[in-house]
Amino acid sequence: MARDKTSFASMAFTLYTLIQTAILCTNAIAVLHEERFLSKIGWGVDQGVGGFGDDPGVKAQILNLIRSVRTVMRVPLIIVNSACIVLLLLFG
């Protein structure tokens, strides 16, 4: 059993790790700025909604996803990040 515990040290995914990962990924998507960055690499909102057929395509879906994550998660991310900062300052 001790061998299991030590070999699991690298793989001990807890739920807390998952929450941390989710927050980091959402932050990463939210900081992609529309004008300064996405338009420069051809991923702006005007370049995504090309065909109005019933098959938007992978790129349009990704752009849609980024834009909606930015819009929806802006305020909750502010709250969650502030809470994380306070908790990390207090409890390391």
Binding site: M1, D4, S7, F8, L15, L18, D55, Q61
Partner: protein
Amino acid sequence: MDLPHQGFRATKQRARAAPSAGDAVLFDDTSSAAPGMNSQGFYTPAYNMAGPSNDMQGAPGVNNLFADPMASAAMMYGSSLANQGKDMVNKEINRFMSVNKLKYFFAVDTRYVLKKLMILMFPYTHQDWEVRYHRDTPLTPRQDVNAPDLYIPRNSAMFSPEVLGLCASTALVWIIIEVLVMLLSLYLLTVHSDLSTFDLIAYSGYKYVGMIFTVLCGLMFGSDGYYVALAWSSCALMFFIVRSLKMKILPSISSDSMGMGSNSKPQLRLYITVATAVFQPIIIYWLTSHLVR
């Protein structure tokens, strides 16, 4: 007139202590207890019983709880409050997960479980993989062997963390990651399938059955047995997943499907199905290899 009446009510109340407290909000008990007691909650019982309190205390303590009118009034208030809380909790839970959908996944019986386990381990002879419908809603697992269920994955996910020494949270995390990746890929490729989130959880949970089988063989027969069992259950599980998901994701050939279901490139859908299937044995191997070194 009041005193013997109250005494009569007290004895009747004590005799019916158990049902009246529990059924207070289910039906209006208009028989012996005070008629306004159940519907009006707190104040009426206090008012009714506060009067002849010395008479009740004079009676020998048949039931000590109801000798004190305040306690019985408080109990009734508490039970009505608990029912309100229960309703509120049910309403909140129903906003997040619909319990009816969950009930669909657990409507299994023994015959279904045995057949499903056999299909999981030996899927090569199963002929008809289509999920049967009944007026547009999928049949419950009792009637249709192909329907996904959550009973088997839940039990094997519970047993496999114990067998493997994983804490359940790691297994849960892996399930969540895998379901999120599947959902993301399905959304990105605009696959209009009727795979709900719970269906994906169900299909992801089937690999724990294979994992338990693999680990048990590994423990019983040593590392050779482990590899043989790993290969067998990987092939079986890959076959099972591909055949099950093929019906849902890839364009169906049945006559009642609209042509719009297959607009995104079919080879991308094929890639998703195959990638899901290949992902399963990798995960099984990664999560169990440390046990059989």
